[in-house]
């Protein structure tokens, strides 16, 4: 691990919104380059980045569309930089092809999605969590990536740094799944000293040109990286490829490559089980929630506790990969798992699968536009406790 560059870190106590905090997190994580295209409610991130980046030797480029932004950032990464893009709803849909490209070419980068109501143009200025399955499965073909969900502006800073670190460690595109509420919510954000911010450095080629193979897996199945201009004559393709990066399109190579790309994530399941739990021990009902919905759930939990119910909260910070082992262990110990989401029931499908019938699983769907009423979550808790 290395430490953040003090020139890029705005150390201090700030009163800023989640979008601004995300931008500061990216800068602290060492991203000095970004490509984007304006879209509410995410634009504040790149607006801030556009003014901050040149002061630290970086560049923001506003591309002609999200297809361009989502691949320009990958050019930046293969030139040796850390980079990211920021979007919402319709723009996220346009980026799907290039999320697949990043997964296939193992390009470390971060895609920030400040979720708004959909489908289509939907609710440009209002919150939702409707892109959670898209974050997991949106691009064609089979791939495995990481999705983090912040629930406060402070976490928009902290977890953006984590997102970049995980991208470098696993060489995957990391999805940073904010929502309109968290993005536009202004709160206290404490940015630590640069020396307290640990960064996962780029896994640079440890062998000289001629000996180095661009996609040769390391012990943890993650390959090292050489960039353009370093004398390696890298060959990077979205086609199924061998360890040199050369196209090799047959079932054997496909199996080897795709299995490895899945396994580099699944092997790290313990590290990637990132949750916050409160009052889960001995609870009859556990709310499983993420992002802004976890904050709303706290009110419902308080109301339920006032009624004498034993309720806990399991807040998912890393939603993908799903904390399967944790849920398998938890399900037999409770009467019910309750999952409120600002969508019609997406992550709950995975929750139900992992609960394996060992307890009730109650979905509290919501089409978005606003957040849940605590009373609706309370009602589900009471049903679960019966």
């Amino acid at each position: 691990m290395t430490h953040a560059d003090p020139r890029c870190v705005l150390t201090g106590t700030h009163f800023i919104n989640g979008d601004a905090a995300c931008c500061e997190g990216a800068l602290a994580a060492g991203a000095r380059f970004a490509a984007g295209y304006p879209i509410t409610p995410s634009t504040e991130v790149v607006e801030r980045f556009a003014s901050r980046a040149p002061t630290v030797g970086g560049i923001f480029i506003q591309m002609e569309d999200e297809l361009a932004a989502s691949i320009a950032l990958q050019g930046m990464v293969w030139a040796g930089q850390k980079s990211f893009t920021v979007t919402s709803g319709p723009g996220y849909s346009l980026m799907m092809e290039h999320i697949g490209l990043a997964a296939m070419t193992e390009t470390p980068c971060v895609f920030v999605n400040v979720q708004r109501g959909g489908p289509s143009t939907g609710l440009p200025t209002l919150p939702a969590q409707g892109d959670m399955m898209q974050a997991r499965f949106g691009s064609h073909g089979d791939y495995s990536t990481i999705s983090l969900v912040p629930s406060t502006p402070q976490e928009c800073f902290d977890l953006t740094v984590t997102a970049f670190n995980l991208a470098e460690q696993f060489r995957v595109p990391v999805m940073f799944m904010m929502d309109e509420c968290v993005g536009h919510m202004t709160e206290k954000v404490v940015i630590p000293e640069a020396s307290e911010i640990e960064l996962y450095p780029r896994r640079r080629a440890s062998k000289p040109p001629g000996e180095f193979l661009l996609f040769e897996p390391g012990p943890d199945l993650v390959p090292e990286m050489a960039h353009a201009g370093e004398g390696y004559n890298v060959y990077v393709t979205g086609l199924t490829h061998d360890n040199r990066g050369y196209p090799l399109m047959n079932p054997k190579m496909q199996r080897e490559l795709i299995t490895r790309q899945f396994e580099k994530i699944s092997r790290a399941a313990d590290q990637l089980t990132i949750v916050e739990s409160e009052g889960v021990e001995g609870a009859d009902v556990v709310i499983v929630a993420y992002g802004i919905t976890a904050r709303v759930s706290r009110r419902a939990i308080q109301m339920a506790r006032d009624k004498g119910l034993k309720v806990g909260l399991l807040r998912l910070i890393c939603v993908w990969p799903f904390p399967e082992k944790l849920i398998r262990e938890l399900a037999p110990k409770v009467k019910a798992l309750v999952m409120p989401e600002l969508n019609m029931g997406q992550v709950v499908i995975e929750l139900e699968r992992c609960a394996g019938g060992k307890c009730k699983v109650i979905s509290v769907p919501h089409p978005g536009g606003t957040v849940h009423k605590p009373a609706d979550i309370l009602e589900a808790i009471e049903r679960g406790a019966q």
Binding site: F33, A35, I59, I61, M63, E64, D65, L67, A68, A69, I71, A72, L73, Q74, G75, M76, V77, W78, A79, G80, Q81, S83, E97, H98, L101, H227, A228, G229, E230, G231, Y232, N233, V234, Y235, V236, T237, G238, L239, Y246, P247
Partner: protein, 256 residues
């Protein structure tokens, strides 16, 4: 005891090719390899630092060019080579970045990126292999397919006119625009060499035959016949410089 002298057959441009990737996927008579030959000579002749040179392609028969060059090679997605190259160049301005791809890729699906890269004068050299067809997918009409052409998706002849690339890119503000054909290998090499040494957004269209999917379906003969066509149409241009669309542009731009 006699020893047999070892005969080494050297391809004069092999220094800039990935030898372990040869033979290429291209058909006999295809014009893509011809353009690569001119490009290879241009690369070697200009003496630019090949270690600092990256080539980016989209998808298509022409999109395979990046993978045959002994440079940093990027084979990206269909239509998006230019924005990838934009990111590469911005994040490491020391790199010479070349985009080498097909007409369908660069001007149909990727047309918006072509327009904007020219407008913002991105420091890129874009080589567009215009075989007037989507070849890789089996010969469907593209934005560059001349009106009345037969293709698999225009079985009654295409009724849309083709786009004129040099005029388009010029209008968008490119600093260097040229058009040659696969017949004009020396002129193409010289133009490529000149463009490699220039800064800003540079665009070279190379009209090439796709005998397998365009020439044959349109009763235009084989690769050789295409060469004769290119040669003769050039003479035609000298006499009639003001033909509409692509033809007028050819005369105007290859002089630059």
């Amino acid at each position: 005891m006699s020893t047999t002298p070892e005969l080494a057959i050297l391809n004069p441009v092999e220094e800039v090719l990935r030898k372990d990737r040869i033979p290429t996927i291209w058909c006999p008579g295809c014009g893509i390899g011809t353009t690569v030959n001119s490009f290879a000579y241009a690369l070697m002749g200009t003496g630019i630092d090949l270690k600092k040179t990256a080539i980016v392609s989209g998808i298509g028969c022409s999109g395979r060019v990046s993978g045959y060059m002994a440079l940093d090679s990027f084979h990206t997605t269909h239509g998006r080579a230019i924005p990838f190259a934009t990111g590469l160049k911005l994040a490491n301005p020391e790199l010479n970045v070349i985009v080498y791809s097909g007409d369908g890729d660069l001007t149909s699906i990727g047309g918006n990126h072509l327009v904007h890269a020219a407008r913002r004068n991105m420091d890129l050299l874009v080589v567009c292999v215009n075989n007037m067809i989507y070849a890789m997918t089996g010969g469907q009409a593209a934005a560059t397919t001349p009106g009345n052409s037969m293709s698999t998706t225009t079985p009654y002849g295409s009724f849309e006119p083709e786009i004129c690339l040099p005029q388009l890119v010029d209008a968008c503000g490119a600093v260097f625009v040229a058009r040659w054909t696969a017949f004009h290998v020396k002129q193409l090499e010289r133009t490529m060499a000149k463009a490699l040494k220039k800064k800003g957004f540079r665009f070279i269209e190379v009209v090439t035959p796709c005998p397998t999917l365009y020439q044959r379906r349109n009763n235009m003969g084989d690769g050789l016949a295409a060469m004769m066509d290119y040669k003769n149409s050039q003479q035609d241009q000298e006499r009639r410089p003001h033909l509409r669309s692509g033809h007028g542009a050819r005369r105007r731009y290859h002089r630059r």
